[in-house]
Symmetry: D2
Subunit: 331 residues, 4 copies
């Protein structure tokens, strides 16, 4: 029997200074469904998700991460994780929360509020969204970009190697790939919490500000590469500026685009990716020249892609030498 402790990235809570606009954008333009509201928070999910929600939007002074919620692989895994997390990172237990049961709350070494739980509440579609397709929790709506599933979250860390080690030891993640300009220096790393086939459900980027608990972006998934292009059409027509993409990352063959939601946060829409079927596959280290960010090796990311949340004065030169960046088109 093998060590798999988590089954999926269950949800991410984000803070928005314009919560109503954010909810409307995620609903109308991205195509999420709102399950419920509770206090200062709205709970949303993609049309293909069985869980109660995958996104929580909470009013806050700045765009930022609220917390990350992981579902374990089985009922006993929450306690196994609790036994592995250093006491100073544990914040306590909650008996239940909206959409799920008993949960361990902790902070990762880089300060990201994290919640781990097994018991979940399933989404119940209202009559007008019910379907007779057994594999779907609701009818397909085709609204907006019609994103289907939450995919991953990308957060900042000031100590890449330590954070990777922590995710492996405490949550049972596998380290799948890094961008490594020189040996021992990782500029970007991906990990997967679940068994196989997924390229990653969490990624780490440096935090030049030495801030804590910062967020680079959250990602939602559509089915086919061409759906990312259609999503881009929807975004273009809605007036949303697309920061980068559509394009393909070479590190995982994922077709991406990045856009900002009304609260200011970066949101990725993606599809595709190679299929990683071996639990013991070594992490794949990519030199910047091997096209990890630009599969066809003829693009550079705009500098603005390193803006993380909450926003800080980041010395951009910190990222010089990574070989991945160009000035933004408009700069």
């Amino acid at each position: 029997m093998s060590e798999i402790l988590l089954s999926q990235l269950a949800h991410v809570e984000i803070m928005s200074p314009r919560p109503e606009e954010s909810v409307r954008w995620f609903t109308d333009v991205l195509g999420l469904e709102e399950t419920t509201r509770d206090g200062q928070s709205a709970y949303l999910r993609g049309w293909g998700e069985f869980l109660h929600h995958s996104l929580v939007i909470t009013e806050g002074p700045e765009p930022a991460l609220g917390h990350i919620g992981w579902r374990t692989y089985g009922p006993g895994d929450v306690d196994i994780i609790a036994s592995r997390v250093a006491p100073e990172l544990v914040e306590g237990w909650i008996d239940s929360s909206v959409g799920h049961g008993r949960a361990l709350r902790l902070r990762t070494p880089s300060g990201h509020p994290t919640e781990v739980f097994w018991e979940t509440e399933l989404y119940e579609a209202p009559p007008e969204l019910q379907t007779d397709m057994p594999l779907r929790p609701q009818r397909y709506t085709g609204r907006g970009a019609a994103v289907r599933y939450i995919d991953h979250v990308t957060v900042n860390t000031s100590s890449m190697a330590e954070e990777i080690a922590w995710y492996r030891a405490s949550l049972g993640d596998r380290h799948t790939a890094s961008i490594t300009p020189e040996p021992g220096v990782s500029f970007f790393s991906t990990l997967t919490s679940n068994a196989i086939r997924s390229t990653h459900d969490i990624a780490l980027v440096p935090d030049a500000s030495h801030g804590r608990g910062r967020l680079n972006h959250i990602a939602y998934r559509v089915d086919q590469k061409l759906d990312v292009e259609r999503a881009a059409d929807v975004l273009l027509s809605s007036g949303a500026p697309i920061e980068f993409g559509p394009g393909i990352h070479g590190i995982d063959e994922i077709t991406y685009l990045y856009v900002r939601e009304p609260g200011g946060l970066r949101v990725e829409l993606n599809a595709g990716g190679w299929q990683n079927s071996m639990p013991d596959l070594e992490p794949k280290h990519h030199h910047p020249d091997q096209g990890p960010m630009s599969y066809f090796r003829n693009l550079k990311m705009p500098d603005s892609m390193m803006d993380s949340f909450p926003p800080l004065d980041v010395a951009r030169e910190t990222f010089e030498g990574t070989g991945q960046f160009a000035d933004a088109p408009g700069s």
Copy 2:
């Protein structure tokens, strides 16, 4: 820690009465690479596979299954499985075989020769196929249909419920979906051996002949739905008759096509599928009217799709009432 015993369908051995033609077809038309030959067998793999081979083609009097090879999730899992398999099904241990190490050999209750192992040999690309892309074991060739990974194997059983129970108990599989014309009667079932995200890596169909160890088809995967259509163009141009498809199954949203290789076996090419992220999701039972075989609910499979291997005189009326079949186009 959760019960996951297998990481992937590693390979399938098929018997062909025309082995040279079969090897040439899998190589030139499907786009597999031949790794090596050994005795009466040729070993092939998709261009995206890190393992030594995923297909073994062995000379034999009739098209048939040779054996199925599963890789475990971790080093100790072979022995856990050995402890769970009823002694009368165990055939013994082998120290090593082409491309992998120590393996348990057994027969499933329905008679399918099966091999379970952990240690594997990785594929080494010859110089002309080497690539600097870290996530690829070899260069992309674009040859023929350019199938990338083995996907699943579909075998026959005369006792569906028992076979499902055996795979769950002995190999740790999850039962993901069935076509159930009436309660308790499953006409088609899918299971997955690995953690999540895959709709299935083995499927079961009835065997009206009450034969043992029979095979319906093997499946290889391409990246995008449109790649299945391109594969169909390649097949059409090569003169290969496409038995069914391209189309979409509603049971898993997989885009499929079925064709026969020169030895006579049925081969599926596919892409897509919904994403199953919950280890405790109940199997999804589909009534035939819910489109499990035809997502858009306006096609029926040709009768010939129930021909299994080795070929037998099958009373087709056994399948009447399943609601899934029409006469073949040419009949």
Copy 3:
């Protein structure tokens, strides 16, 4: 200077016994925009069309063709056409109509009311639909199937060869392809009115009823093959039964699907097609075995596809021997 008299299929008027439901379906599910209403008629167009409308929906007792509107290639072409049409087919001139100027009204030999004109009114987008993309008459909405352009109309004739000859002689069309089960017997024919690159903008099918002026279907176009599949998802989710498809016709490589609108008429959505660049290319005659209806040669159309409008008691045996039909899936 070469003989091209028409530039495009400008619009089709259809009759609907449920006009409000028809308008709502074409708007919400197909994604057309309503330009205006006038008397018993609503005027609609695809989001990519510069003309005032491409579809007129008029209340009527039965689903049927109202009339077909062709735009000429230049200002003088209406009079050239008038000089070529046999006097008994001419119905007269109108000074103007909704969305266009002076027009010749006539009936084709098979009785289809037809209008030919040059002067047109361009669509003006309301403020909320305006765009700064110069090649677009309005913003992309992404609503429903989001069909972009009218593509063709398929009508019935009891005298195929004569009707083809008439279109060539009177309107300057080119005959591009036919399905010809035996020499001299065409079961299906396509013509194009415009110069090149289009496989057809009108098609002819037999009318076993010896009715006059009957219609088989109208077709709207989306950009990519995969957009037809997405349209099918939208239709499936809306509860609309898809009569045939998605699939590919071999006669022109067009990816099709056929569905019925609330008034009862058949509507095709399509994409793709080969590129016909030679004005002198001979019509391509397809034997039914060459896959004209089913590119991959493993499907037959359901019988219901020959139901035309207004509905009549059609002796289906008339179509036997064409080699193109199977019983409908549900029959």
Copy 4:
């Protein structure tokens, strides 16, 4: 009857300092078929083309344009064109050449050798490439990028407005679109010679060198947007550096990529494009901010895209202020 004098861009002759390598690349990597050799020239065509050839590769000291061949719309159009071309541009008549009959040879005002003819020789497939699909001149091979048709040629001019006027007056072209940074200053213009539906078959870019007869690139077409991405995979795997793309131009919605062939010339592969159905549609003028080069408005072309052939010392600052360029990724 309307003024359409040309039916298609029939072929382009290019000069290559490495003709054997160029022929091999166009055959193996792009997937063209070689029809014949004659003297210093090889004649090739896409698998979907009925004409004898669409590309001539001739040995020469530098990568450069040999000549452009246009086919007229009808037999009398060659003489109409001859009567319209200023005598000083006419170079004379030839009775026949490889693959076509009597032709007028001329130079455009910007010095591009041009050939106009009606009579053509059709391609005859050798036995191994024959197909029973009536609309195909040969079997689909799937080799390399499998480009299907020649699409357009983009040439340089030092006097944009005059060159456009000449194409309209002499060859009957329509001016379809321009990039116009300020009124009266066109940086890039497209024209179409044929009736409708095509966005362009010739484009003009400035020539800062004030050279004559220079070429920016030739373009071949594949069917679907995703085929451009697959072509890019083929190119990446072959080691060919992709200069720009895959991406989408906003001026015509064409999905593009640009690569250099072994002789040094730039070759575009493309798919898609909006459908222009109106002969009287005014040219669409795009301000650089409207995304004519980058549909999603977040990319700039590399400077190298203005390198034209034969290569010259071009003062790049000439293009400053057009708003379309960024430094090349590697620069």
